[in-house]
Amino acid sequence: MGIANESREEEQNMREEHHGAGRYWLIWGLLLVLTVVTVLTGRIHIPTWGLVLALVIASTKGTLVLLYFMHLIDHRGANRLVFAVSILFVLLMLAIPLVDLGTRYRGATPPGSTYSDLQALDIGADAQEGRYGGAIRKEGKMGEESGAPKQ
């Protein structure tokens, strides 16, 4: 008596898990191989599916880290649930704004006018900075400008 059942289960799960260090090295090797793969495929610049592929590889790497380095494969119950829920929320939170953007009304935006055609927001004197991909280079060195924004 005296403890909640969950804790006992957790303890049992954790007891079974100890194993040799070889497993970590194996995972490390796999991660490095996947890194090389993603860099190589990334260099090719596959047009549409490039990012998808890169994210699939990243997810595989992430899963390996999670399951073995972070021992999620041994942690059961609430720990897994917490993680699963957070990932689910991230995905939904990403999906909904994208759906919004994809279905927004754009008809009234005049032809040739993308977001970039806007006049600059003028806080101080540097109204033009950062517009049109930042075409405007100011006099003087860049370093000091970025270090201390003049206001």
Partner: protein
């Protein structure tokens, strides 16, 4: 009946087709809410009285709902809510999808005023004239921060966002004057950002717009024509148009608002241009002339200094004709098909 309900609910006069639809749903929603909550309230009151405590430590029965009861608890509100939603979403789609024959008006919010413009003129500040019984599509944008265009009598509202257009439409049913309010907090004088919609009968509206357009033309001609001896402006414009073609201006400058090597001529005159060096300048005769003679002097931001000088290549009258031609392409601030997009003003 519905008049009475509108009075009880303090609803303003309903002056658009959308207002009628909205009010019907509003009454339905209020009605069901009242009936349902009265029922719940009466049940609760009855229970409070019927099951009042008789002994300090009274024991009670253990009551749990049957599955059927819980199912009822879920399904009854769900059916009602979904019904409301169904009607509501249908109306919402209706009000955000303008009919094809709708007349366009551009609306621009600015701290703290509303500007209205019609594709072929005129412009107006804080007063919008529309014909009755004709769908009007509002294309709404902002020059600085978020605003929201709200006409209580029409029951319509749409946010004005800097950087893009949003749209909503209405069909006013009754001539009259209705208030426009800004409902998105936009700074110090948010509550003073009021405007009016004047709904005119169709013929009156036609007369009004004719008059406005004539008036504008008249104004412009009055300003330009100093006496009857100089060639009429119209002829100068024609001349300028030919010259612009032969001198190669149109190779780099478009006249339809599209992006090209140089800034478009459409709407250039009287526009405030942001310059490369961070300053801004109003495009006037002097600036246009200077730009032809010394193109690099005041370069508009975002463009390369590639224009050759026309010093010596153009005669004085030719220069003037081109200037007139550019002036004739002057357009209202918000235009259809303009390349500049919604402008984004400085915030003072």
């Amino acid at each position: 009946m519905s008049e009475l309900l509108n009075d009880i609910l303090f609803l303003p006069e309903a002056a658009s087709t959308f207002a009628e639809r909205i009010d019907t749903l509003h009454h339905f929603v209020v009605g069901t809410t009242m009936v349902m909550s009265t029922a719940v309230g009466l049940a609760a009151l009855f229970f409070f009285f019927r099951y009042r405590r008789r002994l300090p430590a009274q024991a009670t029965e253990y009551v749990v709902p049957t599955l059927k009861t819980e199912f009822l608890f879920v399904s009854v509100p769900l059916v009602f809510f979904l019904a409301w939603f169904g009607i509501g979403f249908r109306d919402f789609t209706w009000v955000t999808t303008p009919p094809k024959d709708a007349m366009d008006v551009y609306v621009m919010g600015k701290q703290w005023m509303w500007k209205f413009s019609y594709p072929e003129g005129p412009n107006g500040v804080n007063v919008l004239h529309v014909p009755a019984n004709r769908p009007v599509r509002l294309l709404i944008t902002s020059r600085d921060v978020l605003h929201s265009f709200y006409v209580p009598a029409f029951r319509i509202k749409m946010d004005a966002l800097p950087g893009r257009y949003t749209q909503i439409w209405f069909e006013a049913t009754k001539p009259g004057t209705y208030q426009v309010l800004c409902t998105e907090y936009c700074g110090l004088s948010h509550s003073k950002m009021l405007a009016e919609v004047v709904v005119l009968p169709q013929e009156e509206y036609e007369n009004w717009i004719q008059e406005q357009r004539r008036g504008r033309l008249q104004d412009r001609q009055d300003a330009l024509a100093d006496n009857s001896l100089v060639p009429p402006v119209a002829r100068m414009v024609e001349q300028g148009q030919v010259l612009a073609g032969t001198q190669g201006c149109l190779k780099c400058h478009s006249v339809d608002g599209s992006q090209h090597i140089g800034p478009t001529f459409l709407g250039m005159y009287d526009r405030v241009e942001q310059l490369e060096d961070g300053q801004s300048i109003r495009v006037d005769e002097a600036y246009i002339t200077q730009s032809m003679m010394d193109p690099g002097a005041h370069l508009v931001a975002g463009y390369q200094n590639v224009m050759p000088t026309y010093q010596g290549k153009l005669q004085g009258p030719e220069t003037a004709a081109i200037v007139e031609y550019i002036k004739s392409l002057r357009t209202p601030n918000v235009r259809e098909g303009a390349s500049e997009g919604p402008a984004y003003d400085a915030i003072q």
